[in-house]
């Protein structure tokens, strides 16, 4: 007998250069797990399938390679859903392999059967249910191709148990053939020429750099364009790290919790150069008032992003790196002393600020972390206030050094993603910044981390609240706190210790630096339980769907 479906699957992983898979076994993937030892692929056993998909996501975001996770049929597969949606929103290349009940049981509500291709249709770039064993080699090759090319995204391959057990006669095709899938990498030269012209004639240009710049590896080109034409740069949450945060042209993040100067610059610029961004509502605020005085250039690899949310004057479909490289050949050095002076003035008059008075401030912890790691760490966050403070106050220096669920806003993303990131970059310092709400959503992955020995440092902003929701209740519901106080939080130090990790409690400013230093020097996972000011708010704040000029706080 030739190879079984399971063996073909494992061999294909090897051919695709997969070094590690994150997964959780079960009945329908028994055969696949049985075949795993035939290859030198590392398998990371998580404690919940959501951990597997987030870990694969974290691995993919730091390495740029395609992350792979495996789950069994039914609940195993449905537990991947949040992670797939997370990866889809943030354009992360993933291949998810799910087991499925045998073909003769399909459609009969069999034990652990779920229509996972139906369920994940809107949250995957593509998916497959493999009904014929001979399709498996082609499907797997296509899956990796689709996940990693064009605008990256997750692809799910659903493999019935009997398909994995049967003999596969077909061999892997040398090339993929997908007549309906032809990503455009080269930007149209005429359009690129138009960008150059627009930059030349602009007096107040502004670059808005998004996750697409990081995904395409175009940080160097983006910075070069900014410097050559003296264009101030703002990066979205997903673009953090694309531009060194201490660069004089850097404006920080725009939008709901953006800097006052980035938001003001968006209002005052006469040319907005959007690079690998999708003009999310958290960035634009009220869409009619967004960049109201500017012509808008939009460069993106996904044609459907162009014109989706904002009107665009110069659209360019293509890979950002490619487009920028060409553009750099067309632009001439320029100086804009007036505009730069105006930006400098805005930066000085309305800097990001917080008061250190009173209880321990989370912003201070992020700043200390930044000083100690000199912006060189890989920072992973969960979702909420701590995420925004990290985005605001950590001095990012490198692309692929900030991992966060930007589009979907998935609480519980952080710990498994940090594990995945550390597996991908074993020699890097990986720090998870999280909150007591988010952390408990996938806290079971502490076991995965400890068993792997990954030295992730956990900075837990413990305020006893679901802080971001509490902040909204304070500001928008007249302070009526409903279901946001986290009664019954565990002792996180003891919890860490129970898993065999190190836990340290910190309650005041004086303790922050020594604790961080100690954690960074200690082997293995260390959890720092920072008891922070419970009712500290994230400012500035632009309320949802308001113009970016309607900022609350931050003065």
């Amino acid at each position: 007998m030739g190879r079984t479906g399971a063996q073909v699957l494992v061999d294909t992983l090897v051919e695709e250069g997969v070094e590690v898979v994150f997964g959780f076994p079960g009945g329908s993937v028994l055969g696949i797990y049985d075949a795993l030892p035939r290859a030198a692929i590392k398998h990371v056993l998580v404690r919940h399938e959501q951990g597997a998909v987030h870990a694969a996501d974290g691995y993919a975001r730091v390495t740029g390679k395609t992350g792979v996770c495996i789950a069994t049929s039914g609940p195993g597969a449905t537990n991947l859903v949040t992670g797939l949606a997370t990866a889809y929103m943030d354009s992360v290349p993933l291949v998810a392999i799910t087991g499925q009940t045998s073909r003769r049981l399909l459609g009969r509500d069999s034990f652990q059967e779920a229509d996972i291709t139906g369920i994940t249709m809107p949250i995957t770039k593509h998916n497959y249910l493999v009904k014929n064993p001979d399709d498996l080699p082609r499907v797997l090759k296509e899956a990796f191709h689709i996940a990693s090319t064009g605008r990256p995204g997750p692809v799910l391959v659903d493999v019935p148990k009997d398909v994995a057990a049967l003999e596969v006669r077909a061999s892997t095709p040398r090339e993929v053939f997908l007549p309906g899938y032809k990503p455009v990498y080269e930007g149209h030269p005429v359009q690129i020429g138009e960008i150059a012209k627009a930059i030349r004639s602009s007096r107040r240009p502004l670059m808005l750099v998004g996750g697409g710049v990081i995904r395409s590896g175009a940080s160097v080109e983006a910075l070069r364009l900014a410097e050559r034409c003296e264009i101030p740069v703002s990066t979205t949450l997903m673009g953090l790290g694309a531009i060194p945060s201490d660069h004089p042209l850097y404006l920080g993040m725009p939008g709901m919790h953006g800097t006052a100067y980035a938001n003001t610059a968006l209002g005052e610029c006469d040319l907005l150069i959007g690079l690998g961004v999708r003009f999310d509502d958290r960035v634009t605020g009220k869409i009619d008032c967004f960049a109201a005085n500017a012509r808008i250039i939009h460069v993106d690899i996904d044609p459907a992003e162009i014109g989706k949310n904002v009107r665009v004057d110069i659209p360019v479909v293509g890979d950002v790196k490619n487009v920028l490289s060409r553009l750099l050949g067309l632009v001439t050095p320029a100086q804009r002393p007036e505009w730069i002076q105006r930006i400098e003035c805005m930066k000085r008059s309305r800097p990001l600020t917080y008061s250190r008075k009173g209880l321990l401030k989370p912003q201070y912890i992020i700043e200390e972390l930044g000083r100690l790691t000199r912006g060189e760490a890989v920072i992973v966050t969960d979702v909420g206030q701590h995420q925004m403070w990290t985005a605001q106050y950590y001095p990012f220096r490198h692309p692929r050094s900030f991992l966060s669920s930007g589009g979907l806003g998935t609480m519980g993303y952080g710990l498994p993603a940090a594990i995945g990131a550390q597996v991908g970059l074993p020699d890097k310092q990986v720090v998870l910044v999280t909150g007591d709400g988010s952390f408990q959503m996938n806290v079971q992955e502490l076991a995965t981390a400890v068993s792997l020995g990954v030295p992730v440092k956990v900075v837990l902003m413990n305020n006893g609240y679901l802080g971001m929701v509490r902040q909204w209740q304070e500001l928008f519901c007249n302070g009526r706190y409903v279901a946001t106080k986290l009664e019954g939080n565990p002792d996180f130090v003891k919890l860490a210790e129970a898993y065999g990790a190190t836990g340290i409690k910190v309650t005041d400013e004086a303790g922050v630096r020594p604790a961080l230093e100690h954690a960074l020097e200690t082997e293995g996972l260390v959890l720092l339980d920072f008891r922070v000011a419970p009712e500290e708010n994230v400012f500035p704040l632009v309320p949802a769907e308001q113009p970016l000029s309607n900022m609350i706080g931050g003065d």
Binding site: T117, G118, M121, P122, K125, H126, L129, K131, I146, F177, L178, P179, G180, Y181, D302, P303, A304, G307, K308
Partner: protein, 172 residues
């Protein structure tokens, strides 16, 4: 405004679900959708009529193009394309209205494909306006059952959509 979109798709299982799901979750309104095989094996053609403004129509086209199983998407120009629909309608018939119905059928070049003592089934093809006009004339007689296929359409002239797809497949 109504737009007619033609998409050639690879005949994989679930491709209709992908297209229909896309319209549902993005809030695009489908007036009609007609699916059938083309001259090329493994390739189907969908004719989708949507009610949308220009910007939304462009989004629909782009989102359709993002589906891996969708090979080509074209919006047909209103003036320079032909569109047809097939109608089957079962009408209540008695001796008093029989001749009037027959006359209407004849005027519209429709045909009667089934007759019983109290009903007949009428078949007709035509563009939307013609079918609507016919249905309106027949309605007072009592429509017992009505089915329409939804529009299928093609641009006039030499340029063809599915032929392109065939070239794609020939490259295998």
């Amino acid at each position: 405004m109504k737009h007619t979109i033609v998409a050639t798709v690879v005949n994989h299982p679930g491709v209709l679900a992908r297209v229909a799901g896309l319209f549902g979750r993005r809030g695009f309104n489908i007036e009609s959708i007609a699916v059938g095989v083309t001259e090329v094996q493994d390739i189907s053609r969908m004719t989708i009529v949507v009610d949308a403004d220009e910007a939304m129509c462009e989004q629909i086209t782009k989102q359709l193009n993002k589906l891996i199983d969708v090979i080509r998407v074209r919006t047909l120009p209103e003036t320079d394309s032909v569109a047809r629909e097939l109608l089957l309608v079962k009408v209540a018939v008695d001796p008093r209205n029989r001749s009037e119905i027959l006359e209407t059928v004849s005027i519209f070049r429709a045909s009667i494909i089934d007759v019983s003592r109290t009903s007949m089934i009428i078949e007709m093809t035509g563009d939307e306006d013609k079918i609507n006009a016919f249905v309106n004339l027949i309605r007072p007689h009592g429509i017992k059952e009505l089915a329409r296929t939804g529009k299928i359409a093609m641009a006039r002239g030499e340029r063809a959509i599915a032929a392109d797809a065939e070239e794609c497949l020939r490259a295998v």
